[in-house]
Symmetry: C2
Subunit: 365 residues, 2 copies
DNA sequence: GAGCTGGACTAAAGCGGTTGAGCGGGGAGT
DNA sequence: ACTCCCCGCTCAACCGCTTTAGTCCAGCTC
């Protein structure tokens, strides 16, 4: 403000004035309310007037001032999404941007904008959600990376801010009698894990490692539990099939792989399932660096496909899911919630396994 | 609205009421205006009252209603960013998310939110920008992926919407006498290209290919021009040093590499510079698939570093830049513009080349 | 003690929409 | 012919904050 006066650049063009409803009213020769009714498809104006008003609005290039609408109409026309990740983890995975692109597709069809924020940790995320609510900045939010003990759904429910959790709440909540605090869309991690194990087991693998994501994330825990269950179903012990947690980064994926390969050849896993594409590529690369041939000596599966899995040699067998579709689904659910739909749980499409060259029979088979 | 009435879920908790300035005024025993003055650090209230008002506001957990503030104060507290990319191109590259994370860092320090939208093409982007302006949804915007003939700066200037172009405007504009339509932050692509060529030339390479990004993007063109200039400076001909354009995808990066390697061994390039990390990895992988050893028979340089470049074997020599820092710089520039700073051009940090295992002397050297 | 100054504070008018109450007029009902 | 009602429209209040134009009073001057 102070600086504005000081900077003396007369060069900048005067901003064009934006027309308001008053302008339309004047030109159409009706009252402002009539304009409002006409433009919002509300009864109370003749189709004749409605048409005229619409035409004038069109001519003037009028668009509702979002602040004014929000102030009276109670709706801001914004959805929010906070991504809590330490900067260095933000990375290569394509999952997120694809998810967002799907979300946008659904939101923009209804002219809802997306407010997006990247923060360092969960506490900051909670603060941002609170602030958005208090400032009435958003009508609802999408929650990503749900955790097993997640404070967000409770907070959002108590604030009365419509929300959709992407990725599902804690597994055992689904069938509990306690009502869900907020809606969620979820993927069938158990089913997906079963298909991965089917694939590996039928190739002959009996010792399988799972390089999981971050501990405490709901889907990580779900996958770990599913893996154990699937292993048990096939009579495999916890020595043979086990999970290790990482932070999803290429570095920890590589490190985990090293530790796995360091084990005695007799008992070391013949297949590794990675919880994301980046770690899978890093892992495959560690194997290559050690002269462990993929898939002859080690099979590799990536949970989540991306260009990455297709540009490496060998190309990685991956669990493919329609990530933009998942985002679209979540956004639609949020829109429904904004329209007053009850809290509910929606299942996304089941991912399918796309076998490529990185999986094959274990050595000696 | 209609649906809201129909859905009969009494289960949802009544949203907590958000306190307004009126509530504060009542509790502090002063008028609303006094509250406004007190909370906005404006003269007109005693420090005594100011303190009391602040305390009450704190107690009530008050936050300004952003719509109301925007409506009277003229500022929405939002910056906008549109990303125009066809969905399938959205991908693996980490550049974008890192840029955004830097942007957020600078914006959130000033409590400015980021409105983010992914669209399919430039026309849609223009429409979004217009709409945001008309709806007064944003105070300013950041423009990414500038093009040589870019309609956006002109549009934004004519609308009077403050903006910062990230990545710089057309090279020859910098020194032209015509004033810049909007501010921009830019990276020294020419200097970076020079350091890449220095590296390769001093290793002994004389035939160098450049797998560039999308035609029409300002930085693509700038790099192509710089490459030619640097080549000329060293007496290399256009047969020896040349650029090919792609769409930045792994697929086209691989395809371009295949075509390059298909050439007769005598004249084929001994080094390839890729305009992003994904293509570089894809290219290295094509080489590996053909039994062309990197770096013994082919050197590979990635423009832009990421985890990707470090997880492959061999690890890729890359041009490292501080992407979050670049985003931060751009956001700061936008904030300055919002405060009335004149249009200007700011240079980002010069990227530096990080030599790794993918570059070495050409064969026979 | 009247006149003036200035600091602390209030009243009220917007900002640009939405919305419920109100109102004139024409057609239907009796 | 009189009432009733509905249609099409206008008026005015309101959303929550900012800001301008006061009001009021204490303190100072001469």
């Amino acid at each position: 403000m102070t600086a504005a006066a000081a900077s003396g650049d007369g060069a900048r063009p005067r901003p064009a004035r934006r027309p308001t409803m008053k302008d339309i009213a004047r030109r159409a020769g009706v009252s402002e309310s009539a304009v409002s009714f006409a433009l919002n498809d509300r009864p109370g104006v003749s189709s004749d007037t409605r048409e005229r008003v619409r035409r004038v609005a069109e001519e003037l290039g009028w668009q509702a001032n979002s602040a004014a609408r929000a102030l009276s109409g109670e709706r801001s026309g914004c959805a929010g999404l906070v991504l809590a990740r330490p900067a260095h983890t933000l990375g290569v995975e394509s999952f997120f941007l694809q998810l967002v692109s799907g979300i946008q597709e659904a939101l923009s069809a209804r002219r809802v904008a997306l407010l997006f924020q990247v923060v360092e940790d969960l506490d900051t995320e909670l603060a941002v959600l609170r602030r958005w609510w208090a400032e009435r900045r958003v009508d609802g939010v999408l929650v990503v990376d749900p955790r097993t003990e997640d404070p967000r759904p409770g907070l959002l429910a108590s604030l009365g801010l419509p929300a959709v959790v992407i990725g599902g709440l804690e597994a055992d909540r689904h069938h509990a009698e306690t009502p869900l605090p907020v809606s969620n869309v979820w993927a069938d991690d158990a089913g997906a894990m079963a298909s991965v194990l089917d694939h590996l087991y039928s190739l002959g693998h009996r010792r399988i490692a799972h390089v999981a994501g971050m501990r405490g994330l709901a889907h990580t825990e779900r996958r770990i539990v599913s893996l154990r269950a699937e292993a048990a179903r096939r009579g495999l012990t916890e020595d043979e099939v086990r999970s290790v947690a990482t932070d999803y980064s290429d570095a920890e994926g590589a490190e985990a792989t090293r530790r796995i390969l360091d084990g005695p050849a007799r008992t070391r896993p013949t297949a590794i399932v990675y919880d994301n594409d980046v770690m899978a590529v890093a892992g495959a690369s560690v194997a290559a660096g050690r002269g462990v041939s993929v898939p002859a000596e080690l099979s590799v599966v990536a949970w989540d496909d991306s260009a990455l899995c297709r540009v490496t040699h060998p190309r990685l067998t991956a669990l493919v899911r329609d990530t933009p579709g998942f985002g679209r689904l979540a956004a639609q659910e949020l829109l429904a919630a904004l329209d007053g739909a009850p809290v509910r749980s929606v299942q996304g499409e089941l991912p399918h396994l796309e076998p490529r060259e990185s999986t094959g029979p274990p050595p000696g088979e």
